[in-house]
Symmetry: C2
Subunit: 462 residues, 2 copies
């Protein structure tokens, strides 16, 4: 496929250089509003941030911009409409940020600090920088006559799990209707190695409670005859999984799992991933496996059974010879596409009850997994856009985590979702001294422009 | 064997009735000094209590009384010497008490409250009442010419694990030398069913630490490849024991265990023990076994492997999808006679390291088990004394707990130890509204008097 508007891109490099001062100035203003969704003290900053975001969209040429109230923080929807007959793409970003109280910050987190090509400040890479990049990509597309409609959908509750987003999108599905979606809130694994994740894992949590007595009993008085709830729940872990390999032993757990193909794993490997760097970055001493293909398979595309705590008994220094009356095991499972959270919850609950009759199981939060296009026209368009902008074919990877908004958008907008993220590990997602950089921003603007052009020539969804 | 001084006991009943007002008055004074060894605020009460105890011994006719300083609280040693050629018996009690802050107290814990035959107050049954009883038994024996020397050895750090007792007794072994020992700090299982425990379990504690990362990691980012230290230590419990039965799976763990004989278990059963009452008293919902002989075997005479805590990870409400970097398993084992704490610690440590190579094991406190005479002249003397005083043959039982001072006395005094306790479950050891009663006290004075007479005619140790 060749571009129908080839001359468009002749002006792109000079456009990017020309808008840089303006990009940086507006980006700075956005970063300097501390839109910490988790912190009630910053409640007043949320509408301030939303209003500035809307203003930036209008300045960039959006024909319709709304700050839409929800039960929580507002959502900003900006539309760049060229013609109703053109395809419409929605780009999701979020304008809320993590708190920034880590003592390792060597600068004011909410003072935009430009150091050469690097931009420091909370929210620069997660996710205000990618949002600004999408905005300038959209502006370029519109100004240069690419026949596409672009919706910018900016949420302000992503960092607290998008509690209002489902209700918002259900009510505004028609307004936000589109043919395809971009989520721009993911990381590459290494600089210079573009990556397009095409799947997310889901998650299902549960807690298992066991009460065997009314109160502490002395292990001298009753030890040997009294049940020990911590020991029973500890051994339950062994019933559920092989703790050395992580393999889940619960019958039926893997029934709906489609393991990644060799082709997919080869693709994961092209992301620039190395076991050494992964271990170092996360501070892992030794892993269950240290073979790169196996690590990538397990973190991207296989389900897990994770223990987060076994609560109960004595937690002070040394030992205390008391048998506790109750204990609680905290579990979450990461799920992969085709595994349904509700089905897995029932399966696991039944298995646990077959092992210990008198446990009480409580269901915790869940999110379904997501699998987007790994191949096909949309994936190809993404590949060409990345190669065009960054000079290298992207690796198609997956994300081991879960993004609630993705599942929600799939549900209500019923459109395929492509992840075109720009962040790098050294940008410090959720970390002190968070930053973004001009290399990723300028490449990102080109990537978006090229991608808009690519998909403008695709058939619309029916 | 018949008593050589039969007329002596003709006066015993009237003696006991006659001394009652005096017994109660002095007992009250002793209880009203709050000798809480655990509470630094009561530091000044410890010498006050020791001095009163020494005064009571002198008033009862002790020929030598010393309040002997230690690195902690003093020990009181009172000697009732008749003739150096006579046998010497040492009676161990302790004059320190538990704190009394439970909201369930319906009276002042350190105000002696006489209600008919019942004496309420912290320390009444544990262990000031039995100490007073031994004192009046000794006085009777001496006043009535029983040819025996009696040492009353009253410790003031029992409730904090006797930290100074080993050093004290090592330095004072000659001064406290004796042919046999009585420990009067144990409970019967039911009123009207005298019991003589003849064994104690030992204990060995350890903590197992596992660190797999430097910091929390996100279960989306690394889940599946990262090790989970809570899961690994949980499954380790299953490697070490059958959590349903409590049976330890570590090879060699039972090697030195001598299980109780049928005769011993039959003897345990004569103690008035019922599963129903045991469960109710301790608040146990369901036990590993509910057959009385099996329960008694397990709590008195078999070793255990107990988990007191698995510390690490998230302990708040719900779940948090983080994999913790480290966890700690807290274990103690109750040990039975012939199992040596050091040997078991090495065996268990080696086994655990064979299961998880990179754990760090820390040794915690240990006490050896103790086995006293179940039969033979001393046990027979105890049986006759109990029957004489309480009208019923005692059951020979064991205690599932550990008493540090017992092992220390065996080590330095090298004399057999008999447990002649007087407390009842309804007296509330370590519980609110602790009490003692005249039935046990008056019976106890008779029991001691009779026992002194019995052993006065035994050959001395060589």
């Amino acid at each position: 496929m060749t571009a129908v508007t080839p001359d468009v891109f002749a002006r792109l490099d000079s456009y990017v250089e020309k808008v840089r001062p303006e990009f940086e100035e507006k980006f700075a203003a956005l970063v300097e509003i501390p839109t910490i969704s988790m912190d009630p003290e910053h409640q007043a900053d949320m509408p301030r941030g939303a209003n500035l975001a809307a203003e930036l969209m209008r300045e960039a040429g959006a024909s319709e911009v709304d700050v839409i109230p929800t039960d929580g923080n507002p959502v900003i929807l900006g539309k760049f409409i060229t013609d109703p007959s053109h395809p419409t793409v929605t780009i999701y970003n979020h304008m809320d940020v993590q708190p920034a109280q880590e003592p390792e910050w060597t600068r004011e987190p909410f003072k935009f600090d430009k150091q050469g090509d690097r931009y420091f400040g909370r929210g620069t890479t997660d996710d205000k920088g990618p949002g600004m990049t999408a905005l300038y990509g959209a502006r370029y597309a519109i100004e240069n006559g690419i026949p596409i409609n672009i919706n910018l959908l900016w949420e302000m509750e992503e960092e607290i799990g998008s509690p209002s987003f489902d209700k918002f999108l259900k009510a505004n599905a028609a307004r936000a209707a589109c043919d395809s979606i971009i989520v721009s809130d993911t990381e590459w694994i290494a600089r210079g190695c573009p990556a397009i994740p095409y799947g997310l894992r889901g998650v299902q949590g549960l807690t298992v409670h066991l009460e065997t007595a009314a109160t502490d009993v002395h292990s001298g008085t009753a030890g040997g005859a009294a049940r020990n709830p911590i020991a029973e729940l500890g051994a339950l872990v062994n019933d559920c999984m092989d703790v050395k390999t992580g393999r889940v032993k619960i019958p039926g757990f893997y029934k709906d799992v489609v393991p990644p193909t060799k082709k997919e794993i080869d693709s994961f490997l092209k992301s620039g991933f190395t076991v050494k760097h992964f271990k170092q970055a996360l501070g892992l001493k030794k892993m269950r496996t240290e073979k790169a293909p196996e690590v990538l398979k397990r973190i991207f595309a296989m389900p897990t059974f994770e223990i987060h705590g076994l609560v109960g008994g004595y937690t002070g220094p040394g030992v205390k010879t008391v048998i506790p009356p109750r204990a609680e095991l905290k579990i979450t499972m990461r799920l992969v596409p085709k595994q349904k959270a509700e089905k897995i919850f029932k399966l696991v609950s039944k298995f646990i009850k077959s092992k210990i009759k008198d446990v009480v199981i409580k269901k915790e939060g869940s999110l379904e997994a997501y699998l987007g296009p790994f191949s096909g026209p949309l994936a190809d368009a993404g590949r060409r856009a990345m190669k065009f902008a960054f000079g290298k074919d992207p690796a198609f990877t997956r994300e081991g985590g879960s993004i609630g908004a993705v599942v929600t958008m799939e549900k209500y907008l019923k459109a395929p979702i492509l992840f075109l993220g720009l962040s790098l590990p050294e940008h410090g997602y959720h970390a002190p001294n968070e930053n973004f950089d001009w290399e990723q921003a300028s490449g990102g603007i080109k990537m978006f422009a090229k991608y808009f052009d690519e998909i403008s020539r695709m058939p619309r969804k029916k």
